[in-house]
Amino acid sequence: MNDPHLLSLTVNGTEQEVVVEPRRTLADVLRHDLRLTGTHVGCEHGVCGACTVLLDDAPVRACLVFAVQAEGAEVRTVESLDAEGRLSDLQQAFSDHHGLQCGFCTPGFLMLAEGVLDEQPDASREEIREALSANLCRCTGYQTIVDAVHATACSRRQEIPS
């Protein structure tokens, strides 16, 4: 059974069937089999977070999930965030706050932040900072990423960021 498995999963609302070797990671299947290259890969050992996606609504490292383990699961990637070219509130906040430079870490941070905001809608700026420490960014120094997520949290709860 080293042989390929037929895998079915739902990605960004679309049911997908892929034939995969068991050892293929979810990150590779998303990127190279389904051609959803927005999810990035920066370490393949769970530390950098560039590959973060939502798996059944929870943020996970797509490099630390074998695709076969995602049988029947729902996956959301960065490609799901905008609606017909309109940036989501979170994406817009990243742009407004200059929360990205090279943009390589950005999809991972966006998906992490979606997961965090869902879990902790009332998070303070410091709580957001701690949660975002899950992922690495080499360009920004993090401050503007924290700002962007905090601003989104505040606007989602109709508050003015202090």
Binding site: M1, E44, A58, R61, C63, V65, F66, G115, A131
Partner: protein
């Protein structure tokens, strides 16, 4: 950093998982269970682990017992597939609330969303929070193997350097914590938030009013496996007013008792001093801030 090839087998229930492990081994394979994959997969990606077959416990999440958090009387039972994050979010009885509080030290949310209690204990990292907590709260690991179920008490679980008493053909089904500790805390020091600790300390205090009458001290990062420190527990057992003087004495006793290694990342002396700091901090936090 791509894993070596393996065959993949979905287990449908615990018996199936055990049978798969047994049959695969009999067929000359080198099978391994995968749960959350948060320890196994990084090692496989580096090809530091290369099981020839994986038995996936993922489908067992359907079975309520495997993901249940159950409190019965003085015990708290966690299904093997309960995630770190589920524990973090759960409202546990006071005697076990330390488990929830300690979870913020385990990696980060995306790791905690998938990593499991049983996986952490079987992996047996010397600084893993779950391993310390198991010793602190007298966990009993319930494992099912070809010859049935057996119970492994925490103090027999860790053999050092990632070796545990759970056999390769066994599947942990639940972990029962049998010693409630309302005055407990876990403190740790890592260079970076979310990393495995350099040293971590878990403390449970027996308090009568503002007097300490006993307690338990567990340390990670000072030996190949997490350890209890009887010398420090003896100081607590001798009793005294809860406060910084006592915490300092306990911490000194702990620091004097441990014999950590010098290794590539840091020195024995530094680990000993961290021990002192963290034991004192954990005592203080466990006592509810008594100084």
């Amino acid at each position: 950093m791509k894993p070596a090839a393996f065959t993949y087998h979905r287990a449908h229930d615990v018996a199936d998982a055990v049978a798969l492990l047994t049959d695969l081994a009999a067929a000359g394979e080198d099978p391994k269970v995968i749960a959350g994959g948060q320890s196994l997969m990084p090692m496989m990606n580096f090809r530091l682990a290369r099981p020839s077959a994986l038995v996936d416990l993922g489908p067992l999440r359907r079975l309520p017992a495997m993901t249940a958090i159950r409190s019965d009387g003085d015990h708290l039972t966690l299904g093997a597939l309960v995630t770190h994050h589920a524990v973090e979010k759960a409202t546990l009885p006071e005697g076990f609330a330390v488990l929830s509080r300690a979870m913020r030290w385990v990696g980060h949310l995306p790791i905690r969303s998938r990593g499991t209690v049983a996986g952490s204990l079987v992996h047996g990292d010397a600084t893993a929070e779950w391993c310390l907590l198991a010793l602190l709260l007298d966990a009993v690991v319930v494992a099912e193997g070809p010859s049935g179920r057996r119970e492994i008490p925490a103090d027999e679980l860790f053999h050092g350097f990632y070796a545990t008493a759970v056999d390769l053909d066994e599947v942990v089904v639940e972990v029962r914590f049998t010693r409630p500790a309302p005055h407990a805390a876990l403190c740790e020091f890592a260079r970076r938030h979310g990393d495995f600790a350099v040293v971590d300390a878990a403390v449970a205090l027996d308090l009568e009013g503002t007097a300490a009458t006993g307690g338990r001290i567990v340390l990670g990062g000072v030996a190949p496996a997490p350890v209890r420190v009887p010398e420090a527990e003896a100081v607590l057992a001798a009793g005294g007013a809860a406060g910084d003087a006592l915490w300092g004495a306990v911490a000194d006793a702990a620091a004097a008792a441990v014999d950590p290694p010098d290794d590539a990342t840091t020195t024995a002396a530094y680990r000993r001093r961290l021990t002192r700091t963290l034991v004192a901090d954990a005592c203080r936090e466990a006592s509810g801030g008594l100084r």
